[in-house]
Symmetry: C2
């Protein structure tokens, strides 16, 4: 997605230890038109890959909510965001999985109520980052626990040098990223638009 790639080139900052600061348009402030375009891009890319009849989108709070919602707006399907703490409104019998937190440290729980994810659901998984892949793997575990079918994985920013794509390969679903960080050095962030490669084929 060219607009996202250019925004990362212009505003992204390498804070060291693999941390990319993109909180001006992903993690703290949102650009509504850019976020809507993320949803349109996911819808277009997954359709081109034959991922159809999606009935639900799953993401994790907090930063996954915005792109998951715009994807839900474009596809016209409900969005479920996994909670990190069990709210008192959630009944017993919930599904839970764990993942390490990149930007906050420690382990986070991801929790989904069985009320909102059914065995008949065809699920698209959307998140902000694909780095080590462990948060997305935990979300995929929740989908499997519910007995639902995972149809595809979409992330805004893939850090291709952290191996997440390989970790998720066994899930055997298409993985779509809107921008790929190929490398981050002290002064340079190399960002690639995966759609350029598709067009070149």
């Amino acid at each position: 997605m060219q607009a996202l790639v250019e925004r990362i080139e212009r505003e992204g900052r390498n804070l060291g230890r693999g941390i990319l600061k993109v909180d001006g348009f992903i993690n703290h402030q949102l650009d509504p038109e850019l976020t809507l375009e993320m949803g349109r891009c996911f819808a277009r890319r997954f359709a081109a890959l034959g991922v159809t009849d999606v009935t639900k989108i799953i993401t994790a709070e907090v930063s996954g909510i915005a792109p998951a919602l715009t994807t839900g707006i474009v596809l016209g399907v409900p969005v479920v965001y996994a909670r990190k703490k069990r709210p008192i409104t959630m009944p017993d019998g919930f599904y839970a999985a764990q993942a390490p937190s990149h930007t906050k440290g420690g382990i986070v729980d991801l929790i989904v109520s069985p009320e909102y994810l059914a065995p008949t659901d065809r699920v698209l998984l959307i998140d902000d980052f694909l780095a080590s892949g462990q948060t997305i793997a935990a979300l995929a575990t929740l989908v499997a626990q519910c007995g639902a079918t995972l149809c595809g994985i979409g992330c805004l920013v893939e850090k291709s040098f952290e191996g997440g794509r390989a970790l998720l390969a066994h899930l055997n679903v298409p993985i779509v990223s809107l921008a790929i960080i190929e490398s981050m050095n002290a002064n340079t962030i190399v960002v690639r638009n995966p759609e350029e490669l598709l067009q070149a084929v």
Copy 2:
């Protein structure tokens, strides 16, 4: 907003101790078309109240993000969501305020980076619930700390019997709620559409 009132009447559950379960369309699962309509309704209601030239929307993670984003989509302005923990991507000099958590217990911090809220900003504050009003008061404090101008407060669901509107009266800005819970007993949730009152005047 009639569609929201009807959804609460149909799916809302009183869990006792003032807790209204609406996680099928606000706090855990999102209905994209309903959420988009929330944004349109806020835009329409604030315009009718003369709230114009908004440059930024502020909300709090987690459940405020979705309606704040759709309001931002409709108004075409950026959305900032206050974080509850300081991410390592946030620089020093951030603004912070505290509020008690209704559904999780304890005190939560609300943190905003000065990078994304400027003294020149005209800010609309959007959140899911207006109950005691303390979360919204904390967000208003953040806006004041930044030196920005608060123009209006919008919430999806106001529990009118918890006194939040009175707590926020000193802010002297319009407060718009899309659905008002007038009372919750063991078996009955009385929901009112504030637009009906407006039309009746």
